[in-house]
Amino acid sequence: MGGVCRRVVPPPRLRMTAQEASHFHNESGVMAQDGGVQYEPVAEIGGGAYGTVYKARDKESGKFVALKSVRVQTDQEGLPLSTVREVALLRRLEQFDHPNIVKLMDVCASLRTEQETKVTLVFEHVDQDLKTYLEKAPPPGLPLQHVRDLMRQLLCGLSFLHSNLVLHRDLKPENILVTSRGQIKLADFGLARIYSYTMALTPVVVTLWYRSPEVLLGSSYATPVDLWSTGCIFAEMFTRKPLFCGESEVDQLTKIFSVIGLPGEEEWPNDVTLSRENFSPQNPQPITEQIPELTNEGVDLLMKMLTFNPLRRISALKALEHSFFSDQSDHS
């Protein structure tokens, strides 16, 4: 995948303790971001070929599946309960067969060693993710009509997750699959998603670009985090480059405030360590400066997603009802 960096890790059997791992991939993003750390492709870790993925074609149906394996470190208690629960949740969600959720066909566990269980998730195979899709889009980018369609599907999938009490929490173009027929499929949530935070061996640098202010500030959060990410992705669908490319939490917040303006004192969460005074006062800038092709309806929807206060941010369900989706006047 273009632009995907891999962290240089010590050779084989790199096994981290829980503490190390959580430190290493602390959700707060304490770890160094892109700057300063050298990345290069990782060859092989443990027994499995790390650089490859298994994909198969079902001879009967002609459909493709791909394996995502997850190594779960275990102690004398076996597979962690949380993992087992997540598997159950994923399978439960699967029963709804939602068109905008990547299809999970099976979950197979195999004991590797006493300390490690390999959980293999058999997913439907989708050729590309939104990141590649946008990279491949010919200039001047996706037509409005197309963005509208993708956004509707994205929100549809998200609304489904939220109504099942699942937060995605790491929504980004890499986690949104796009089929050859332009169908959106959300991936990497639940069982798969959890790893993007706790895993020690992710080849991908954790990005802050789609994180909501409350997550960056370390405040409490809920479903609105995904709507923030959706807003960022919405903008990116037009510009084909990330809206806020911060290199640290503070940098990310600074970039956010330079567009949406510094929120008022009364909006600032009181359970956070980072105070509002750390940021210089700014007024909101019109988003059309960055995305000139956005219609008025689009601007309205985007700004409702990029609302600082998570309680006032639009929900996935409400977003689907937004007039942006009913406005068919343009056919650019």
Binding site: A18, V53, A56, E60, V70, Q73, E77, I194, M199, A222
Partner: protein, 246 residues
């Protein structure tokens, strides 16, 4: 001799942990006679083997060795650069505690709120929270920990609770453990596994427990403490078993 004692202590410790909700008492009651751990262990291994074999033949893929086998699926090994990043292998550390809070966070939002109200009396052992990643810990404060704590109550809060217990603290908890136990029995009777009165071995309890925890925590979190989940808990369990032994 000493070795044997330590060993059996460990085993007992383990056995107790298989009932997360009963793991709090210092006294370990032996209600069903001694357990032949050796035998159970073998049985578990055998069953796991069976499940693996079924997986293997279904997908004509050896998941253990990571090698394709001949069959209905035409496997090919492709470079990660040609597939979405999502499919690449990942790793997770196995400390349930580290992920528990997130897990709950991610899935039981509204459920959590109810839980929080219902269990405000629960002590908040700071040691546990500190094991979380930063945002987990911060969130824990709001409405997340109550759910998690229920499950991961280890020995730490024990002492805390002893000093701050109110009689009312026990009501919801006892209710829950009762529910769970009765549900457990239902499932044992309902499953195809031969009726055996010894406490279930770790792994099986896990898989079975999955049904209950899944239903009560994730999907019907609201009734977690209401004590009315008997029937549904059992049906959730049934589906969990079906999936395990599909």
């Amino acid at each position: 001799m000493a070795n044997v004692d330590i060993q059996s202590m460990w085993e007992r410790h383990d056995a107790r942990r298989t009932f997360p909700l009963l793991a709090r008492t210092k006294v370990c009651r032996n209600l069903f006679g001694p357990v032949d751990h050796e035998e159970l262990n073998c049985e578990m291994k055998r069953r796991l083997q069976e499940i693996s074999e079924r997986d293997q033949s279904r997908w004509n893929f050896n998941f253990e060795e990571n090698v394709p086998l001949p069959g209905n699926y035409e496997w090919e090994e492709i470079a990660v650069s040609t597939v979405p990043t999502f499919y690449t292998e990942s790793m997770r550390n196995g400390k349930a505690r580290t992920v528990n809070a997130k897990d709950a966070e991610s899935s039981t939002e509204s459920g959590c709120k109810n839980e929080a109200q219902g269990s405000a009396e629960a002590p908040s052992p700071s040691t546990e929270v500190n094991q979380e990643n930063r945002s987990g810990a911060l969130n824990a404060r709001k409405h997340v920990t109550p759910v998690c704590r229920r499950r991961k109550r280890p020995s730490v809060p024990e002492t805390l609770r002893n000093s701050t217990t109110h009689i009312t603290d026990f009501f919801p908890r006892r209710k829950r453990s009762f529910d769970n136990k009765s549900a457990e029995r239902t499932s044992q009777a309902g499953s195809s596994i031969p009726a055996e009165v010894t406490p279930r071995k770790r792994i099986r309890c896990r898989w079975e427990d999955l049904g209950v925890s899944h239903f009560s925590d994730h999907l019907a979190g609201k009734k977690g403490r209401s004590g009315t989940k008997g029937a549904k808990g059992a049906s959730g369990r049934a589906s969990a078993i079906a999936f395990t032994c599909k």
